[in-house]
C-alpha cells in the first residue's frame, strides 16, 4: 500500500528517493555549501544536513536568481538533490529544474511540509503531477 498525492504537472524526469522535509524556504545561493553538499545557512532549519540525493520538501523559493544555473552545476558534479517538492515555486526554481533536468513539482492540496515527512520514500512523476509515498499507508 502507498499514499498517492496529486499536484500541478511538474518538470523533469520521474525519480524515486528519500524525503528531507522542513518548513522553510530555499535558494541554492543563500542556503547551500555546494562544495560540501550541505545546508550552510546557520538559520535554515536544515543547517548542517546533506541535501545530496535527497528529495527536498520545502515551502517556497527565496529571492535570487542563481538557482537557475546552480541546479545544473550541482547535477553535473553529482552533488545535487534528486528532486524538489514545494508548496509553490518562483520562476527561478522552475527555470533551474528545466535546465538541470531535475524533477520538480508544486501546487498540492495542502501544505507539503506537513503532507510529507523526513524519511518518506517517494516516487515523483512530474509529467503526471503525482507523488507517491511508498513506505506509508493511507
Amino acid at each position: 500500500m502507498s499514499i498517492v498525492l496529486r499536484c500541478h504537472n511538474g518538470i523533469g524526469p520521474p525519480v524515486v528517493g528519500t524525503a528531507l522535509v522542513a518548513s522553510d524556504n530555499f535558494s541554492a545561493r543563500y542556503d547551500l555549501d555546494r562544495i560540501n553538499g550541505i545546508f550552510s545557512r546557520p538559520t535554515h532549519k536544515l543547517a548542517g544536513q546533506s541535501y545530496v540525493d535527497r528529495i527536498l520538501v520545502l515551502n517556497d523559493a527565496k529571492g535570487g536568481v542563481a538557482t537557475a544555473w546552480m541546479l545544473h552545476e550541482m547535477m553535473a558534479r553529482l552533488i545535487a538533490p534528486r528532486g524538489l517538492i514545494f508548496n509553490r515555486v518562483n520562476p527561478i526554481l522552475a527555470q533551474g529544474a528545466a535546465l538541470a533536468g531535475m524533477a520538480l513539482v508544486d501546487r498540492f492540496e495542502g501544505d507539503v511540509t506537513r503532507l510529507f515527512r523526513t524519511g518518506d520514500e517517494l516516487r515523483l512523476d512530474p509529467a503526471a503531477g503525482i507523488v507517491e509515498i511508498l513506505n506509508r499507508d493511507a
Binding site: 524556504n25 529571492g63 536568481v65 538557482t67 546552480m70 553535473a76 558534479r77 527555470q95 528545466a98
Partner: protein
C-alpha cells in the same frame, strides 16, 4: 502553449540548434506556469557569473556559442549582470587564477552571442531604462523589481538560462507579471516612520519581503510622504526581492502603476521606528573586529560613489580592514574621470567594476582573506552572505565608513 508559425519552425530546428534549445527551455517553463503563449521581449539581461555557472554552465554556453553566427546571435539587445571577478583587482581580493580563466571563457562565449557586456545590476541607472508596459526578460531580482515597480515595465525573474533563451528567441512565456491580473496588490503596508538612509530603506524592504514571503504576493506600501530617490528605491526593492522573492511593489502616487487590490483592500500592516530598529538590531555586532566593508549589492550609483569619496577624504582605512566599493563599468569610468576612484583608493579603499561581491566567489574570498565579520549598508547583502560563512552587520554608509577607519564595528 500556443505556438505561431515562427515558433513552430524554431522548435523544429529551422533557425538552428541554439534557438531550438532556447524555445524548448521556454516551453518547459511556460507550461509549468500555464502560459497560453509567448510575448515579444524588447531586451534581455543575463545573470551569468561563473560561480553560479560552474564548469558545466560555461561548457553549455560554449557549446551553444560554437554554432554558426546566424544561428547564435541574440535577437534583441542583451546585456549582462555583474560578473564573477574584476580582472583589475581580483588578486587583491584573494580570488584565484582558475576563477579568472573560467570567467574569461564565459565572457568569450557571451560575446559570441552578441551580448553587450554591461556587467551591471543597475542597468536602469546606467544603461537604458525600459518604459511602462515594455515586456522585458530581466535576470536579476533587483533589476526586475525596479523595472516592474518604479518604471512599470513587465518582467518575471528570468534566471540566466531563461534570459539567454529570451535573447535567442526574442520572446518569453506570457505568465506571471506579464499579465494584468497578477499586477494588482495583494498585501498592504503602512509606513509610519521615514527611513533615514539606504540601510533603513533596505530594512523596510526586508520587513515587507519577509511578511510577503512569496513571488506571487504584490505589496502596496502607503504612508511615504517625501518622494524617495532612485537609490532609496533601489535599496528598498533589492531587499524586498531578496527577503521575499517579490518582483513587484506599488507605492501609490510614486511608482508607475495604480492597480488597486485583488478584492477589497486588506488591513494594513504598520511599519514604524520600532520595527526598523528591530530589523537593524538583528545584525548588530558593536565592538567586533571588522574584516571587510562592502558597498555593493546593488552596485553603487555615481551619487553613492561620490558620497563614499566625500566620507573617506582625509581619513585612512584600518590596515586590518578591507573597504570595497563595487559599481558598473560605466560608473567606474565616470568615477575615474571625476577623481572619485582616486580619493577612495587614497584612503585605502578598492573600487571594483562589474562585480557585486556576493556573485564573486564570496566563500572562497572569505577563506583566502580570513574574513568573517562583514559590514555593509545593503540589506540584500546581509541576507545573502550568512550562507557563505560571513557574520554580517547592517549600518548606514557613514557608520560603515567610520567602522572601516576604526577597524571594528562601531
Amino acid at each position: 502553449m500556443r505556438l505561431n508559425d515562427e515558433e513552430r519552425a524554431m522548435l523544429a530546428g529551422e533557425f538552428g540548434a541554439p534557438r531550438r534549445w532556447a524555445l524548448c527551455h521556454q516551453i518547459a517553463v511556460g507550461e509549468f506556469f500555464d502560459a497560453a503563449d509567448f510575448v515579444r521581449a524588447s531586451q534581455a539581461h543575463i545573470m551569468a557569473d561563473t560561480e553560479s555557472l560552474g564548469e558545466a554552465g560555461v561548457r553549455l554556453l560554449e557549446g551553444l556559442a560554437a554554432s554558426p553566427e546566424a544561428e547564435r546571435r541574440v535577437r534583441v539587445p542583451t546585456i549582462t549582470d555583474p560578473r564573477g571577478l574584476d580582472f583589475a583587482v581580483y588578486r587583491r581580493l584573494g580570488q584565484s587564477e582558475w576563477m579568472a580563466a573560467l570567467e574569461q571563457r564565459a565572457i568569450d562565449a557571451l560575446r559570441a552571442f552578441g551580448v553587450l557586456m554591461t556587467d551591471t545590476c543597475i542597468n536602469y541607472q546606467t544603461v537604458i531604462a525600459p518604459i511602462r508596459g515594455d515586456h522585458v526578460a530581466y535576470g536579476d531580482t533587483g533589476v526586475a523589481i525596479y523595472a516592474n515597480s518604479v518604471l512599470g515595465a513587465r518582467s518575471n525573474f528570468e534566471g540566466g538560462p531563461s534570459a539567454l533563451a529570451a535573447a535567442l528567441t526574442g520572446r518569453t512565456p506570457r505568465y506571471g507579471y506579464h499579465l494584468d491580473q497578477n499586477r494588482r496588490g495583494t498585501r498592504r503596508f503602512q509606513l509610519l516612520a521615514a527611513p533615514g538612509d539606504f540601510a533603513e530603506w533596505g530594512a523596510v524592504g526586508g520587513i515587507v519581503g519577509e511578511a510577503c514571503g512569496s513571488y506571487w504576493q504584490v505589496p502596496v506600501v502607503e504612508g511615504i510622504e517625501d518622494i524617495p530617490s532612485s537609490d532609496a528605491l533601489k535599496h528598498f526593492g533589492t531587499a524586498l526581492a531578496s527577503f521575499g522573492s517579490v518582483p513587484l511593489f506599488h507605492m501609490p502616487g510614486i511608482t508607475a502603476e495604480d492597480t488597486g487590490f485583488v478584492g477589497p483592500p486588506p488591513e494594513a500592516i504598520a511599519i514604524g521606528r520600532a520595527e526598523i530598529d528591530a530589523f537593524l538590531a538583528r545584525y548588530a555586532a558593536a565592538g567586533d573586529r571588522l574584516d571587510v566593508v562592502v558597498f555593493g549589492a546593488p552596485q553603487l550609483s555615481l551619487f553613492e560613489i561620490a558620497t563614499v569619496a566625500d566620507a573617506v577624504d582625509g581619513r585612512r582605512v584600518h590596515p586590518d580592514t578591507t573597504l570595497l566599493v563595487t559599481t558598473s563599468p560605466e560608473n567606474k569610468h565616470a568615477a575615474d574621470r571625476m577623481g572619485l576612484t582616486r580619493r577612495i583608493e587614497t584612503a585605502g579603499g578598492i573600487v571594483a567594476q562589474g562585480i557585486c561581491f556576493y556573485q564573486s566567489y564570496a566563500r572562497e574570498m572569505a577563506e583566502a582573506n580570513h574574513w568573517t565579520r562583514l559590514m555593509t549598508n545593503s540589506a540584500k547583502l546581509v541576507n545573502i552572505v550568512g550562507g557563505y560563512g560571513y557574520r554580517p552587520t547592517l549600518g548606514s554608509l557613514e557608520r560603515c565608513i567610520a567602522s572601516a577607519i576604526a577597524g571594528r564595528v562601531l
